[in-house]
Symmetry: C2
Subunit: 569 residues, 2 copies
């Protein structure tokens, strides 16, 4: 397309409201404009990128046997009442009434509708499996929408739902989607990792998040430098702890005065020992009880793991008053020895300590030579700690590395959660009625566009991977008023488009510097400059946005050269 | 795709809730399911049709220089207050509040957002024209959603907005869209007509509706059998009336007693004359006044034309009490002679009558030998009547024909209505600020799918035009358990898809009759049956859905034959 016929509203200044790079560059490069808080208009460049991402998503879903459909955005409250989610969803659910005063919501997700469709149409095992998906707007009334497309209130998602006869079928569907997602993000030209993630309070189910690696990512990931293990920090595990004190004999338990020493670091320093020799005792309050969680003094409690271990719905650190009431001791001096009426959950590393230090459940006092099983017996021993970079990979023992990531997709084994409550059953080979086994699989389309920018940019602007770039190349005549230059640029532009290279002809009557700046900001993978050299020597300059590599190529070979370079960008 | 991996929920019964053919067949053929009143889920077959229509729309918009973008569905009240439409729109506008109690609506149309985007980015004549469009869900809270996709509350539309410097530019954009729309509906394989339509109270602006011709259509159209003139009945005109009584001398006005004779027909019969010799005097009440509208006794008043002639906002037939109060006469005896304090609007045909009959403004009394200009002077003489089939075309004089149509698109010259109120201005060559001149152009995507069915079906099901069919062909092995048949069917199915013929392999273990019925209901343009003849003689049966023509073709030539037939369907 010709730049003079396009809306190219680039900005020179960094907009004040934009906190993250993708938001800044999407605004500056003329891709989006804010219509309301967390609600954006996608201008033509953005729409081209979104269409490319959606096309890749469609092809990979279809390749796995996915059938595209389209479900409503506005949904009646009845079906959300039936699933039980109408009252569970808080203020994040946009609710409205129609002219007859009936309740509706704007869908944040489509489990209800799809499960009811399948309930109505699938009766027999012969009709299973089914993989059904759609791509549409989703709504979430965030308290504080921010980070541009990262946390909007209106956003585009692909969601696929799988319907199988049993867990084995679900496993096959899940693997198909794992493969499809891997293909999608690879084809989008992104550096990413599928990571094991926590499946929340439902428990038991498997889930992976697909993370685009970027320093600005809100999620921390641990991944193995050798094998394919990767997990987000809430889920990451490591090899079982070895005993730290082999051959050392347990000594007698003693009380010691430790006035004012509360934290594991303070206590360790006081006794002149390493912090890992201290048993950190943290009190938590769940929806049902107060519990004590024990980890080594150099570790942190992983609250997600603890929550899942307890099977609780909510979990929060106990406040000073709760600690005092539950233990009769001020916080800082609580320990597992002699603790009454409180369940104790210990990390396995705590069990491997010999002659450790712990709170004495008495003000300004600690116990030394504490030994698990002799001095106290935990109610549960489970991995409840945060794993850190440098620890061994649970699969292969190599060192775990840390990275930050942006979640762009998630695949999830739902099981029979929705089919049971909504009555989506089928008759098996023996005529027995069973609930359909479901999975759900989401990709944030608008978020993927933003994540691609977080990962691919420099100080001059966006660096699009060629597969999702709005255009592949921009052809810039240095002097559009020079008829000869313009004629050559025009011809090259048309030849490129005929050859399938999506190109823009920047025929605006602007200085070359302005066009170069715009080209860098918008992030065309290739910039082709047609100047005097083209007229005099038949040579154009082809510059690669990512590497900055610039080649002088003869006009007659330019199209071929571009087609050769493009797949490598 | 293989039928055993697809969701094909066909129904044998006509669903009770479906009043129109397209609604019935979309349900029966497994294309849609109702999620709520006027809100539908589009199953995979429907989504394929919608994607094809949208692709055709995109290509034709892009061909004219249209730039695709995407605007929000949920929009803040502020911008609707700014345009003045927040309070104008009645209960058809879905309104909601966010968690901070701010007002939003679900967009029925996007003039506000696009005009504000352009206001923000376009400053100079150099940036004009712009053609910007998007395809997205629209919302209208109909009092009584009905007719399936014909009048839903959530539906898909393409809307393009043009931005020009002046009326000449708008005329060019308008013509481009007229051409694009003609191409879209031609490529969709539909019989349609662009018809002149009324532009409503705004007045002066040009608008065309694109009507898919179908007996079930809600709109009546008059079109010329010779030239390209076509208009909906509210807008249709004809050649100026010739005098009916050439050379006849006006006679003296006389009063006649006509007890109980009120209608033009009764009066004509009473006097033994043709109804066209009676002046029909209809009293209407507008938002400002009571007026008398005069048409010949054999004609009907066109209330839209009358409304526009008067420049009124509302218009309704005066009730008995209003007639009595305004004229002092009971309805049925009102006439133009001696009528006081009431404006008279006469159709030109009335002016051409000599010695006509009209009400005397006295109970049970009419006047004979009434002659316009001698006995009364209308305040306005304008075309205010309904034109009927059989009258001459206003362009060429040939006979007008009548048809019924379904509106699937409308193009409209907005002018500066929105740019003025929202302040979307540009600086012209002389640095003078001017409002941008706009046009808007809509296509109902989901409605086009339904209209295609209204026009293309028979008692067995849908007959898709090949260009928008969900698949081009279905391959049916007569006995899927017969390995030889199945192998041949499978090979043919794969060869067809490789050749670009989108095909379904109906490998379900159902009787052939069931599959044939489904094939007819779903409406594949071609049905290819692989039976014993294929195994024994290498011959398959290719049947064309529309004509029923069935050919026996050798397996080796089948793919070629199908590719040859397809473009003709």
């Amino acid at each position: 397309m010709r730049a003079t016929q396009m809306l190219i509203p680039t900005l020179r200044e960094v907009p004040a409201e934009a906190e993250v790079v993708s938001h800044q560059l999407l605004l500056r490069a003329g891709f989006i404009r804010k219509t309301a808080s967390g609600i954006y208009t996608y201008l033509p460049f953005a729409q081209r990128v979104l269409k490319k991402i959606m096309q890749i998503v469609r092809e990979e879903m279809d390749r796995q046997g996915g059938q595209e459909m389209l479900m409503p955005i506005i949904q009646p409250a009845e079906i959300w009442l039936e699933s039980g989610r109408w009252h569970v969803y808080g203020p994040e659910l946009f609710r409205l009434k129609d002219r007859h005063n009936r309740d509706f919501c704007l869908a944040p997700t489509h489990e209800e509708v799809i499960t009811l469709v399948v309930r109505g149409e699938v009766k027999s095992y012969k009709q299973l499996p089914q993989l059904l998906y759609h791509i549409t707007n989703k709504y979430r009334d965030e308290r504080r929408p921010r980070f541009g497309l990262m946390r909007g209130r209106e956003f585009i998602m692909k969601d696929l739902y799988s319907f199988d006869r049993d867990e084995e079928g679900l496993e096959i569907s899940y693997r198909k989607m794992h493969e499809a997602y891997t293909n999608v993000f690879s084809r989008c030209g992104l550096q990413f990792r599928p990571v094991e993630a926590d499946s929340g309070a439902i428990g038991g189910s498997t889930t992976h998040e697909f993370m685009v690696l970027a320093e600005s990512g809100e999620a921390a990931i641990l991944y193995c430098s050798v094998c394919d293990y990767a997990a987000n920090v809430e889920k990451a595990t490591t090899l079982p702890a070895a005993g730290l004190d082999p051959g050392i004999q347990p000594l007698d338990l003693q009380e010691a005065s430790t006035p004012g020493k509360k934290s594991a670091e303070e206590v360790a320093a006081f006794f002149g020992i390493e912090p890992f020799h201290v048993i950190k005792t943290m009190l938590y309050k769940t929806d049902q009880e107060v519990v004590a969680a024990l980890v080594r003094g150099d570790r942190d409690v992983n609250e997600i793991k603890l929550l899942n271990t307890l099977g609780a719905l909510t979990l929060e650190l106990a406040d000073e008053a709760t600690v005092q009431q539950a233990t009769g001791t001020p916080a800082g001096y609580v320990g597992p020895v002699g603790l009454k009426n409180i369940r104790i959950v210990a990390d396995p590393e705590v069990m491997a300590l010999t002659n450790a230090v712990a709170g004495a459940n008495k003000r300004d006092t600690h116990l030394i030579n504490v030994n698990a099983n002799r001095d106290f017996k935990p109610d549960l021993v489970e991995d409840i700690r945060m794993v850190r970079a440098g620890e061994p990979c649970p699969k292969c023992g190599a060192q775990l590395q840390e990275a930050r990531g942006i979640e762009v997709g998630q695949i999830f084994k739902l099981g029979t959660k929705y089919s049971k409550v909504l009555g989506a059953n089928f008759l098996d080979e023996n005529g027995k009625e069973k609930p359909i086994v479901m999975g759900c699989y989401g990709i944030g389309v608008t978020r993927t566009m933003a994540a691609a920018i977080e990962q691919n940019h420099d100080q001059d602007g966006i660096i699009w991977p060629a597969s999702i770039a709005p255009y592949h190349a921009v052809v810039i005549p240095v002097s559009p008023k020079d008829e000869n230059q313009m004629k050559l640029a025009e011809t090259l532009y048309q030849e490129l488009n005929r050859a399938g290279v999506e190109s823009v002809l920047d025929d605006r009557l602007e200085r070359p510097g302005v066009k170069f700046k715009d080209a860098d900001l918008i992030g065309y993978p290739l910039r082709i400059v047609v100047g005097n050299k083209a007229v005099e020597e038949g040579v154009v300059e082809i510059r690669r946005r990512r590497s900055g590599q610039t080649d002088l190529i003869s006009l007659s070979e330019a199209v071929e050269k571009v087609r050769e370079i493009l797949p490598t960008l």
